[in-house]
Symmetry: C2
């Protein structure tokens, strides 16, 4: 019940790149500093993101990494699952019929519902959207003091009502 630091970092790397002008590279050092990720750990994460096809890297003097696909086409779910494998809230909440108890366990539908919501939310949110929000926050903070945007960014996130079982 908590995503790994690795996955969290990976998502912040993609976000960092998505907020850059299209096609621009960033050096790992700079990403590490901006996103507060241990550089040595970031090295490994960047390799994984390359292997998964989300980013592409170039070496040497003016090297760095950049998105290999448009940010509009990358969802939070995709990156998360690339780092952690298929997500699931409970052992039986994905591929429910693989659980020997699925046909009669009454808690099952609750997990199935939570899982479906999560997949839907993360799977329909792209890094383009998140980056756009990031730009708004940045703009707002540069206008009015350091903490101007915080309250708004939370308020704006429409919290869904959870339907009963």
């Amino acid at each position: 019940m908590e995503i790994s630091r690795r996955a969290d970092y990976a998502m912040r790397v993609i976000l960092d790149l998505a907020m850059l002008p299209s096609g621009m590279r960033a050096r790992a050092r700079d990403i590490a500093r901006r996103q507060a990720i241990p550089y040595a750990f970031l090295q490994k994460i960047i390799r994984d993101l390359c292997a998964a096809g989300f980013i592409e890297a170039s070496r040497g003097r003016r090297g760095g990494v950049r998105l290999a696909r448009p940010a509009e086409s990358i969802t939070l779910l995709e990156v998360l699952e690339a780092m952690e494998g298929p997500i699931r809230l409970n052992r039986c909440s994905r591929e429910p019929h693989l659980c020997p108890r699925w046909s009669f366990c009454a808690v099952h539908p609750v997990w199935a519902q939570a899982q479906a919501y999560l997949e839907q939310l993360l799977g329909s949110t792209t890094f383009a959207q998140v980056a756009e929000r990031g730009r708004q926050i940045r703009a707002m903070q540069s206008r009015n003091g350091a903490h101007g945007a915080a309250a708004l960014s939370i308020q704006e996130a429409s919290i869904a009502q959870a339907p009963r079982i």
Copy 2:
């Protein structure tokens, strides 16, 4: 991103007891068999559930455990959090202001939203409701063959649409 076996087992213990006639005791051995939980592990879990006040135990010849509170008053969230501590999907999704980046990290609202949904869903579902569903499934399966109820129990779980960010 997956609740512990311990928490899953704990919830199934409470469900098992909630499906019994009110006030009736069950022996740990029987719960272990019915719920397919390793008995030695269950011993420890039962102790924790006692300490948390969900169940009460009595020793000796006709001993066993039973619910210490009405099933209507116990939510899935309560039991889950008693076993795992406050739930969170990401390090920063609970107590967001404790994260040094919360005021400008654009992924934050997504985690906050998912977290809120999960808390709402699990916090508003009681073991009385789940037990009732369990009784329905049981009744249905005893009427028509072993796998009769499975499909229905999934269909009936109304899957919520996830609102966009």
